[in-house]
Subunit: 596 residues, 2 copies
Amino acid sequence: MPTYKAPVADTLFVLNDVLGYERYANLSGFADAGPDMLEAILGEAAKVAENVMHPLNRVGDEEGCVRNADGSVTTPKGFKQAYDQYREGGWMSLSIPAEYGGQGLPYTVHSAVGEYMSSANMALMMYPGLTQGAIAAILEHGSDEQKQTYVPKMAEGVWTGTMNLTEPHCGTDLGLLRTKAVPNGSGGYKISGQKIFISAGEHDMAENIIHLVLARIEGAPEGVKGISLFIVPKFKLDDDGNAGERNGVSCGSIEEKMGIHGNSTCVMNYDEAEGYLIGAENGGLKAMFVMMNEARLGVGMQGLSIGEIAYQNAVSYAKERIQGRSISGPKAPEKKADPIIVHPDIRRNLMNMRAFNEAGRALILWTALKSDVAHRSEDAKDQEAADDHLGLMTPIIKGVLTDKGFEHAVMAQQVFGGHGYIEEHGMSQFVRDARIAMIYEGANGIQALDLVGRKLAMNGGRAIQAFFKEVGDFCEENRADEKMAPLTKALKKGLNDLQAATMWLMQNAMAKPDNAGAASTDYLHLFGLVALGYMWARMAKVSHDKLAEGASLPIYDSKLVTARYFMERIMPETGAHLARISAGADSMMALEAEAF
Amino acid sequence: MPTYKAPVADTLFVLNDVLGYERYANLSGFADAGPDMLEAILGEAAKVAENVMHPLNRVGDEEGCVRNADGSVTTPKGFKQAYDQYREGGWMSLSIPAEYGGQGLPYTVHSAVGEYMSSANMALMMYPGLTQGAIAAILEHGSDEQKQTYVPKMAEGVWTGTMNLTEPHCGTDLGLLRTKAVPNGSGGYKISGQKIFISAGEHDMAENIIHLVLARIEGAPEGVKGISLFIVPKFKLDDDGNAGERNGVSCGSIEEKMGIHGNSTCVMNYDEAEGYLIGAENGGLKAMFVMMNEARLGVGMQGLSIGEIAYQNAVSYAKERIQGRSISGPKAPEKKADPIIVHPDIRRNLMNMRAFNEAGRALILWTALKSDVAHRSEDAKDQEAADDHLGLMTPIIKGVLTDKGFEHAVMAQQVFGGHGYIEEHGMSQFVRDARIAMIYEGANGIQALDLVGRKLAMNGGRAIQAFFKEVGDFCEENRADEKMAPLTKALKKGLNDLQAATMWLMQNAMAKPDNAGAASTDYLHLFGLVALGYMWARMAKVSHDKLAEGASLPIYDSKLVTARYFMERIMPETGAHLARISAGADSMMALEAEAF
């Protein structure tokens, strides 16, 4: 059975030592979660993750969800009780504004907590996770009445939310969607159509489910310009605002999936269900993106979460399993063989995972702080810069951390040898669960296109220029420091490759747009390497400074080793990415479709 | 439902056009399989794979194997009938020597056929596949009587074989094994112990199962020097050599695994089972390696096989699924959207898979021909060179093609978006099945150590020097040819990186052995890239020549495009591998185990 321990010390290192969490005390909500409170919250969250969520992870995989003959869905044994504990503990409402029943704490804190919970039980955490996205959309685009009607119950967790986008013939290309909305004459709409792959679409954990549904109002323009967003509750509300009469929406079936069996992935049928427009008529795409952006950061987090728990279990196994002798002489002569952690190729796997996870955590928390600045700062310039960062990093966090999270689940499984392939040890579940994060909320190829096609040139490239400057300045400021020089040199080389790739795109993508598409995934990962490398450089800098001040925590020493590992063994991949990007689209696109 | 079409034309291109199959006509068995016969055999094999094996692939995954209360195992519906057709068609005995009831055809033909069968149904093909390994070990190490007793029935397929190595506490490190063999006073041994992860350990498809079991004879030396190999039939043989009385071996349970559900992976319990020594006392490791080497090539093949069928289905989906418009203008204006194959990032996935699969097929067939030369040539020098090649390429084929096969199954699944994650489309099965090939028959980390620790320096580096010379000469001979120059230049750059890495290892691994272990996986993949790149250069050369001669088959044009793609987009990875190798083991090994 896998085990899990929330990396609280590492979260605190990143927030306090590296990112200067205290500097944000002026932002609303931060005063209520100062350093001591932060530590207390994380400690409590760790307990819930380790003791409540995690023990149900395997159960969820084995039992899955069951759709009953009446269309209701039963979640795995214990899920409802754990969810109740979660919401009663107030974890659901951490960063929801107080005026809607939340606690108004920083999104950063919610984000730190979210990592632990998703590590412990990704499938279970999707129920509250989707609810967060729905809340965000209602808060951003809903009317005051809609906010007051829906958000408090959702923040309390007695109601959950969903996102209904995909239809059988329409995934990425939402312009093709057919679900219909017809005015019902009393201010609402009758929604009809079929949605698929709806996570948490039906279940037994909440009193009501608030579906946010993309549909096309009768007579609306074709394509994405004719899409609107609707609130469709599973139960219509009675006069007191409680769940009342059943609405015309039901779960037609549950998908049989590769993983996340504990989450019910539903085909949802809408049969003249009563729905209420949220945001502007035909403004659905914009409203939907609020949910999507929130969800994309959450999915990137899932990549890190699974990568982390898979890593922890690979480490435990590598310390316990004895097999063979160290090539440099026995390390456990009293045993019949050495623990396999002595073998360099096992270490390679462990160090790779560690180097990505720790930098990934820093990147997520850095971005979460920017999100708080973007939403809570009163300085327009700070807000703008933070918002730029958020837009830029969202596809990178989603795309890179989920690709890597899956890769690391596979790596961790490999450390177990044959024992990793049988379900008993739980490593297969991590691989199967992590796989979905590369696909949903915009497949990673779409993230890459979002970066190259939208984020790169937005506002004249303001966001990337700011990022390049920040990383470049850091390298410049620290290159005279001989302890930092090997790291800043490697980082600068990566930054140079990224800037060269950016230049190549500016010069070659306009004339031939296929060049942008052909470069996109490599550009995404190249950007990710530099962003993660920058996190390592900053973590190393702080560690050097702390050690110079006389601190002697082992975390500082191990950060320095891992930073060096990242720069030596991972950063050099930027060269291959640049070579591929500069190759252009010709050989990729030359074959006729018939030649395949 | 996935589909499958055996790539017969590509196999013939590789064998006839690239590898000069006709030149081997002097080797025994090749005269019986001249070019026309070869084409006929492949055509028949394609039908069996497509029409008999493939339709059962999903069934096997869904039903799995069932252990009954009496310890017998029931395989999925239809498996026995398909296996009967397979063995009655003579596919089992293709390359087994005629004196043991086989057809004595080239191993190369067996290998070409094997790819199709494993693509079509990997789990089913493991039953005959393991039998091939057991036959090879008996032919190489068995007494004449053992050969005559066991091989004909196994070649006919009425008996199958297994390999019994792993025990709960002992996988890679066979020195730890505990299964005991005690002389029974009548020339045989009583075998007792438990083996795990035994593929095809128990099933209902054959009249008898011949287990080859590693065990330690009472009083034998500790470690690998005290291991012997035994034949332990499920049913002891009666006086006529037919299956008689039940032996003391039974299936204790079936593992619940991530994939290959159609194959029964058994815990096998030996309770004073009657066994017969094969090969020398305490010479078990050597005898076992005959099976292992045969099996490793077979497993490398599985990587290619799944990569190929996954690719084919990704191509079909990419041609059918319409979503979005080409960035360079609509390609199917009559439809509501373009097929997704117009999008560069989809193409990138398809071209990557294609570029590896076609070169992987060439590498396997090239090596299969060398295997035939090694075993059938009468020229000692040719034999030696071929044997060198075989030893060198075995870990590369096993390690690289299975890593890539899995990666490509994941890539193909990604092309399907959300539809790839649900089991209905069968893409998840490819991922789950392909995963095991990276683990069994020596996890890929072990392949890398075999390459760096054994194969590299064997006979003073004779094998790698010959390979370097062949590839270097090819580049030199073709660099003046302006059509070939871009390819040979890229190949030469890769070769230079490989040679630099080899030099680095020679200079740095002796003094500090951890440097070898730290470099091993990167070295394996670096070597693989150069070997596959060399295959592409040769395929391109032939295609240019054929086109110059006036041939106009589309295969030649598409080979040229794909060769270019490989050199532009895949070959540049050699630089990152070299950088990692040259970084050495320091940052990898610096942390104490407790720091993890």
